[in-house]
Amino acid sequence: MRYIRPLSIEDAVGELAKAVGPAAILAGGSDLLVRMKGGFVEPELIVDIKRIGGLSDVTETAEGFRIGAAVPCAVLGENKALRKAWPGVVEAANLIGSKQVQGRCTITGNLCNASPAADSVPALVAAGAKAVVAGPSGKRTIAVETVPTGPGRTSLAKGEIVEAILLDKRPEHAGDAYLRFIPRTEMDIAVVSAGVNLTLDDKGAIKTARVALGAAAPTVLLVEEAGQVLVGSKLDEATMERLAKICSGACRPIDDKRGTIEFRRKVAGVLARRVAAIAYKRAGGK
């Protein structure tokens, strides 16, 4: 096994592109090291990206926020501007694992690990976040929901690295939120989860809405119909009922050790209602 710590994204991409055996990218390592210790993966090359310039920074730009791929989730929680603009994304990132894990894990890693139950991903998808991908043929910016393609699988090509996540600048009257169901209170993995991102018009009616569900299908689901049903409403009871029904219907869950199909369907609807109400309140809705 070879461990390298390149100083530029180009070097990292180059090493990954020419790797012959299995290679892995290391940021916080909260997924990779656990899998290695358990004997599930045995990479021949490990590329540590933490020393690459800019990858450990959160930058506020004219367009919004750029979150480097090596920024630990705990750092997001300490960024006041980010917390104010995207509270749902930050609360999702700060639910991953335990306090100790949050000091290591990253939202980019959470995205690229491609678990349907990843906590930060439904919030990022609802937020309309973008991923900046560096690769052998240059850089491209893609919607985060196009990165995972199935459990443990991504659309990234050999040699490609997600170097940052981009979040838009927030307009007035905007709010987002994330909720997950776990049988415990913390240090657990979502049985089903929901993220909602809303903007309101001057009268307090919903102008735009994005709804995403986690652990409800092989990848995180962007439920466009659920977003549409919210537009124009002030979250009256009938809209909430329809939202819950659409979200329950959109699920394509499985029966497994964490929950049943029935349970996930039902609770997806319950969480969508509850999380929509939180996002609406955060956006200034009454």
């Binding site: 358990g38 004997g39 049988p183 415990r184 497994d256 050790k257 029935e262 349970f263 609770v267």
Partner: protein, 754 residues
């Protein structure tokens, strides 16, 4: 030895205080040495190859490729652990469980092991071992396994305990029955009868420290074993017998223990590590991964229990009956038998009958788990008792008080009780402010009782007095819950000196006579009895030395508050001699001063507890939060009240996990789906409220200080208390443990849909 163990009703100076524990600093600074913290020069890494199949014939194992890998120093299979058990069926089962001989009987069953110079090579070597399996049909569910169509796990098993010897083999190894009176006549007199069936899923003790040991077999045939265990003397006996060694040639040293709860009373990895060391000629460290702990060390039984209880309008129970089926893993056990004994132990019953069936399944060998078998039986019985109280229109506590066992009651499992604590714990609960606290919407309150036998057993201690007046106490019961502090308090009490002058250690198997293991809540009960006895023997010598120093007859010397006192007016000018004074002169008065004790601690007093629990259930998700919890339990005498409270809280915490989320989940392929703490959900800190405790002290007449064991009873009532609370919160009777959110939501939906 003329040791008098009877309760004397003395006043205490040290016992009942709360000093800090002697092992505390090491533990909070990380210096304490647990099983994996021992190391030896030249030590190898041991790893075990485990069956991926729930049930399969092992047709062939080829280890040649693994043996040729550079860095591999030994590879073993069952051939390297020949059967030396000489017809001892229980020992044969232990041997077969350590290393499968003909069949792999569960997912995770050991089939081979390697010792290599590092972990990477050991892992590679495991991949090079070729095992040819013939996969057989399997069964993991207790009810399915008991069915006559189920795949047979062992075709030599014919159900014992039936009136006629069965003609066909079965997965039911044994039927046992307890009780007295005539239940049919009793039910005929009942105005109300509740009859229900209950299920509980299999749980693991969930100790944080995985099994770990270092084995070193020397060329001269002697061997050392450092191991995390609840009973190093028992491990010595078992390992020596399985390896064909003389027990005296194997020295076992117990490490600090990161939890055991009954799960470290059984050998798994230790005989394997010794066999590897013997073959490699070097020390071998073997540490289980968490995955291995779940798949291959002992969980408790899964159960299926039917209960029927009848009562008259006035609230008198007229008859009670239970049929209990407990899974044993693939080897015979007595788990249902214990369940059948404990089921109705809290009550005074004219007519009672319990029947237990031991059931083989393709799961790991069932091991003891804190009051083994009692929590499931209590869940079923206490749920039915609660429901019957509702039907009668009686308060659940009053109904239990009316039927509670008392001194002189003949227990459902046979013996007649002495002074017991069930009535007092119920009275304490009845008057506890918790019972009157208001509840909000979606909240419910439940309560339940529990019983555990407690054990005593063989015990040996040494008490040595240093020339500086310090006392070192060597005990042979592993400290799992603060017993070094408690036993130091007892030594200080008996000698009349300060706690800070006593230091207790757990001695290895070559330093003391045989000790039974720390199980059955016996650690403090039995070793305190032996410590009192050893201290009294030391006091006898201290008096003799004082008499010698004063040159007076020993009969005129008494021992009071840590001093030899010359009795009688003629000695008026003799100042008392302190233990320290006498110890300082011991070199010239006959040498070191010590007290020894060896005894069988009989008369462990039975133990009772009553718990109260408030829960809040989210009706939309089935999620349950325990918002308040109170434990009331009889301790006999709380030697160190903080650690008694810790035992009460720990049992309740484990019970809460069991009641709400913990369970072994098997796939259709017979493989364990959740062999890790992510998906085997024990409670985390924030899942639990502060667990309130109330210690009652109803002295055990068979212990000088009145001590009863306290470690286990606290896990008996929680399943039922929480089930009663949840059922009261949601208005639906919950009969399947754990009451996980999907189960509660499904039950609520079924009720809503009528």
């Amino acid at each position: 030895m003329n040791f008098d163990p009877r309760f004397s009703g003395r006043q205490f100076a040290s016992v009942g205080t709360r000093p800090i524990r002697p092992d505390g600093v090491d533990k909070v600074t990380g210096r304490a040495r647990y099983g994996a913290d021992f190391n030896m020069a030249g030590q190898l890494v041991g790893r075990v190859l485990r069956s991926p199949h729930a049930h399969a014939v092992i047709k062939k194992i080829d280890t040649s490729k693994a043996e040729k890998l550079a860095g591999v120093k030994a590879v073993i299979t069952a051939k390297d652990l020949p059967d030396l058990t000489d017809g001892d069926a229980a020992m044969y089962d232990i041997l077969d469980n350590c290393m499968a001989r003909k069949k792999a009987l569960y997912d995770g069953h050991a089939v081979a092991a390697v010792a290599a110079i590092d972990a990477r090579i050991a892992r590679q070597a495991l991949k090079l071992i070729e095992v040819e399996y013939e996969v057989l049909p399997h069964v993991t569910d207790v009810d399915e396994a008991a069915h006559h169509h189920a795949p047979l796990i062992n075709d030599q098993v014919f159900t014992e305990g039936l009136e006629e010897k069965p003609a066909k083999p079965s997965n039911v190894t044994k039927r046992t029955q307890f009780g007295h009176g005539d239940v049919h006549a009793g039910f005929a007199k009942a105005d109300f009868i509740v009859e229900r069936s209950y299920k509980t899923e299999q749980t693991h003790q969930g100790y944080i420290e995985p099994h770990a040991c270092v084995a070193s077999v020397n060329p001269d045939g002697t061997a050392d074993l450092w191991v995390c265990t609840q009973g190093h003397f028992v491990y010595r006996q078992h390992c020596a017998q399985l390896l064909g060694m003389e027990a005296s040639k194997l020295r076992v040293t117990s490490s600090e223990i990161g939890g055991g709860f009954g799960g470290k009373t059984h050998v798994w990895a230790e005989p394997v590590a010794l066999a590897l060391s013997r073959k490699a000629g070097r020390p071998v460290k073997l540490v289980m991964t968490r995955d291995e702990v779940f798949r291959a060390s002992g969980p408790t039984s899964a159960t299926s229990i039917d209960v029927k209880i009848g009562a008259r309008k006035d609230g008198t129970i007229t008859a009670a009956e239970a049929t209990l089926r407990y899974s044993c893993g693939p080897y015979a056990g007595s788990w249902a038998e214990i369940g059948a004994m404990t089921a109705f132990a809290c009550y005074k019953l004219e007519n009672v009958k319990t029947v237990g069936y031991e059931v083989l399944v393709n799961r790991p060998k069932t091991a003891a788990y804190r009051a083994p078998s009692a929590p499931m039986a209590a869940f079923a019985v206490e749920s039915a008792v609660d429901e019957l109280a509702h039907e009668l229109g009686m308060d659940a506590v009053d109904f239990r008080i009316k039927n509670a066992a008392q001194e002189g009651t003949r227990a459902s499992y046979g013996p007649v009780y002495g002074p017991i604590g069930i009535g007092p714990t119920l009275e304490a609960v009845k008057h506890h402010p918790h019972m009157k606290a208001p509840l909000k919407a979606n909240q419910g309150r439940g309560m339940a009782c529990g019983f555990w036998f407690n054990f005593g057993g063989q015990t040996c201690t040494d008490l040595n007095i240093g020339m500086d007046g310090s006392v070192s106490l060597a005990v042979g019961t592993v400290d799992v819950g603060g017993s070094r502090a408690s036993l130091s308090l007892v030594a200080a009490e008996e000698l009349g000196i300060d706690y800070s002058h006593v230091k207790a250690i757990v001695a290895d198997t070559s330093s003391l006579g045989y000790n039974d293991m720390t199980d059955g809540s016996r650690g403090t009960f039995s070793s305190s009895m032996a410590t009192i006895s050893a201290a009294r023997n030391a006091i006898k010598i201290l008096r003799e030395r004082a008499a010698q120093m004063w040159d007076i007859p020993v009969e005129d010397v008494t021992w009071e508050k840590g001093h030899a006192v010359a009795k009688g007016e003629k000695y008026g000018n003799l100042s008392p001699l302190s233990l320290k004074d006498i110890a300082a002169k011991s070199g010239t008065t006959g040498g070191p001063i010590a007290g020894h004790s060896e005894l069988v601690a009989d008369g462990a007093g039975v133990s009772f507890a009553t718990h109260i629990c408030d829960v809040e259930v989210d009706p939309e998700t089935g999620s349950t939060r325990v918002i308040r919890y109170t434990v009331v339990q009889d301790a006999g005498k709380a030697v160190h009240p903080t650690y008694v409270e810790g035992q009460y809280q720990g049992g309740a915490a484990q019970g809460i996990g069991w009641a709400l989320n913990e369970e072994y989940i098997y796939g259709k392929d017979g493989r364990l789906q959740n062999a890790g703490f992510l998906d085997y959900r024990i409670p985390v800190c924030s899942d639990l409220p502060m667990i309130d405790t109330q210690i009652l002290e109803i002295p055990n007449p068979n212990h000088p200080y009145g001590v009863r064991g306290v470690g286990e009873t606290s896990i008996v009532p929680p399943l039922a208390a929480i089930a009663n609370a949840v059922s009261n919160a949601v208005g639906v009777r919950m009969t399947h443990i754990p009451m996980s959110p999907p189960r509660i939501l499904a039950a609520l939906d079924a009720e809503r849909e009528g």
